[in-house]
Amino acid sequence: MKLWKRSIVSAMAAVLVLGAVTACNSSSNNGSSSASSDSPKKEAGGSDSAGQQTAKLRLLGPMTSNKYIKFDERDKYPVWKEVDKLLTDAGLQLDYEMVPSEQYKVVIQTRMASGSDLPDIVNISALDNTTVLNLAKQGVLLDLNPLIEKYSNGNIKKMYDTEFPYARKSTTSPDGKMYWFSDLHKKTYQGKDPAPVSLTMLLRKDWLEKLNLQVPTSAEEYMQTLKAMRDKDANGNGKKDEVLVYDPSNFYGAIAQWFGLGTEITSVDVENKKVVSPWYQDGIKDYFRYLQQLAKEGLLDTSLIGATGEQKQQKMTENQVASLSDYNLETYQEPTINGGGEFLPLMPLKAVDGITPAAQLEPPFLVWQKYAITKDCKNPEAAIKFFDTIYSDKYAELLYWGIEGKTYKKDSSGANVYIDNGSDEELAKSGLVPGIKLFGDTVFPRVQFANLEFELSRVPKYKADNELNVLNYKPYFVNMNGNYLAIPDDKQLETKTKILTNLSTYSSELATKLALGQKSLDNWDQYIADLKKLGLDQLIEIDQQLLDRYNSIK
């Protein structure tokens, strides 16, 4: 009898545990991320109260990681009501599955690779081009061009062909098809001129004034200024610890462009439609000589080479950074300095006779992220309707600027500027956010008509002046070369990947060692021979082909 009792008790315990598990599971499943926009669920082709046809779509994307402004609470935000109205008017009923962004990459990789039970529209930005093109080849992703031709009301074409003529070039696959929609961004000045911002060397303005130093006008003067800041103890802590934070392992630091160098192993010279490599450019040896001097003088902080963001932040917080390479309009570094400080963006400085210093610009037009329609989409017409809604002027306004009078206003020149409604925490309470904060980077593509006027209105005059000076500056290189290259085909991609694996390692090691003087410039021919052996020339050739194809796509 005792055994019976015991087995019954243990069986009951097991049932209890399992029961608890199932109960928790089902209750939480209902109340969470996969919440429908409307409570009554209708099948595709059903009709809503107004009698209009509604179509149901399932969307999968990452959640925004903002602690205060959450997509789950979208209904309390005025901007969402407007967007929701646009979608309802288009006859769409959307079912969202939002996955935490930190987890999204793994989730999307497994889901797409398994290829079963896919949502209609999915954000596949986390997948690289090879994976995406393979999925397209397997038929998991639909070719969008015929669908656009057949179903679109013209919005998509207007944005892609008129407003953002660069978009097609970056999203047309080698087979001539288009498999994903993208985030589109452009920044203009005075309503029409493209307005690139620059990445440049920033120098402590308050230290210049404190030590009565002139703004340097050449590379040589720049070095002397750094030296003076250190030797005269600009931060006043009694130690000679004022340094330049600069990563010599790549060419992204703006000093490289003073010597006329590109920004990557292969860089696009946009104006001349040519792919160049800094390793072959004239100023390269002088550049390394200059860095060697900086390192020898102890001005370049060698302990930070290859350091993490946190380590660099530490130097910044401790008030030791005299100069660094960053956006000319940045305003996020200054508040982190203990005791405060100001960074002055420098114009490109002359370094070598015969070489005009170049600027490094962020392209004023950006195309990034991927949003695709999958093979499991039963109603492609509705999916295209969704994207027609997204690529409308109204949506673009709601997304980037929000609601006039609430989140943005017009300044005297008629340009949009944001209204400062406080921190994220306050915004979450008042609900006065532009759409981008609430649903940007999820499964809703961004369509951004940014302007320089607002950027300039929130920075000190010396930063604004630098931006206006650099606006039409030539020559320049861009920080995102990939934006000017067409999507490579299988073979090109394979070759590129193969070459880059070894070449980038070799290049960054070589650059670091040359900069620190651990390798001599005397053996230059040997280094170039090594680079050639690793496929540098072939890489330039492929990228040139991609650039040519990019320019040929209409």
Binding site: A14, V21, S101, E102, Q313, T317
Partner: protein
């Protein structure tokens, strides 16, 4: 004293100097082991600006409990906590059950093909199916995005079965035979005779499961896109991973947001580590003696 020292036959007591050196080494090892814990704790209570500057080494600088306040107020954290308790509770119970049920037949002497089964068991211990096949299986079984996706696949541990089997084989055969002579069935033998004297091994399995499940997050990463089902370690993973963004690839506006995010998270990370690790650290002392037993079991094969 002098005479004692000259006695060649005395039992050597070891020299004081060597003792001191050994103690010193032990102390250093202790410090090396404990310092990371200590570091995380003092980072979590120092003032945020000192933490961002990485200025804290030996003692907390300033005093700030804001990060803890933020965590305690976060409902997501409490969700994760309760989920972990469910996963640990259910997982541990099922693990013990399957281990006992799996191990017992393998100790029955006249069971045909017993050796073959034991060998067969070793295969999945070393080789898995891979991520995508596992995903497909879980998905087809309808367990994707449910708590079962984490509990069911982890409920059988072959390592545990082998541990229990090894323990069962140490039980004298005579005990089993006498039970049979008294008319016991296999079930009766298992539950009334063997289990009562197997508490040590059950404790070992329980603690292995508790610690293992408490620290696991990967299954949740793959199978649970719904954050309401996330265990505590997944919550921690998200906070820690969130801030490691490659700033170089972002445009001006995005960089601004990412930097703000990064700074607010530096301290939070430490507070969460303390919060998620403490419970499992506190269970260790209670199970310590069983842990040692578990380690010994492997060496006691007959």
């Amino acid at each position: 004293m002098a005479t004692v020292r000259r006695n060649p036959n005395r039992i050597k007591q070891g020299s004081v100097a060597v003792d001191i050196i050994l103690y010193a080494i032990a102390l250093v090892i202790c410090l090396i082991t404990l310092y990371p814990f200590y570091f995380v704790i003092i980072m979590s209570i120092s003032s945020p600006s000192e933490v961002a500057a990485m200025n804290v080494f030996w003692f907390p600088k300033g005093f700030f409990l804001g990060s803890y306040e933020l965590i305690v107020r976060d409902t997501k954290m409490w969700w994760a906590y309760s989920n972990t308790l469910i996963y640990v509770g259910a997982g541990t119970l099922l693990n013990c059950l399957t281990a006992v049920l799996g191990a017992y037949p393998l100790t029955v002497r006249n069971l045909k093909g017993r050796k073959w089964v034991v060998t067969f068991l070793l295969i999945p211990m070393y080789f898995g199916g891979g991520l995508i096949p596992s995903y497909l299986l879980i998905n087809k079984l309808g367990m994707y995005n449910t708590m079962f996706a984490v509990i069911i696949p982890g409920m059988v541990s072959i390592w545990n079965i082998i541990l229990v089997r090894t323990f069962f084989t140490t039980i004298p055969e005579g005990l089993k035979e006498s039970a049979f002579i008294d008319g016991a069935s296999h079930l009766q033998l298992l539950f009334r005779v063997i289990l009562p004297i197997s508490k040590p091994i059950l404790a070992v399995i329980a603690i292995y499961s508790i610690v293992g499940i408490w620290n696991s997050w990967f299954d949740a990463l793959v199978y649970l896109p719904n954050e309401k089902l996330h265990p505590l370690q997944m919550y921690l993973y998200r906070v820690v991973v969130q801030q490691s963004v490659d700033l170089k690839m972002l445009s001006l506006e995005d960089t601004k947001n990412a930097v703000a995010n990064m700074l607010s998270n530096i301290q939070l990370k430490y507070a969460i580590i303390v919060f998620t690790t403490l419970p499992v650290i506190f269970t260790y002392p209670f199970f310590q003696k069983y842990f040692i037993k578990g380690a010994l079991l492997g060496s006691l094969k007959e």
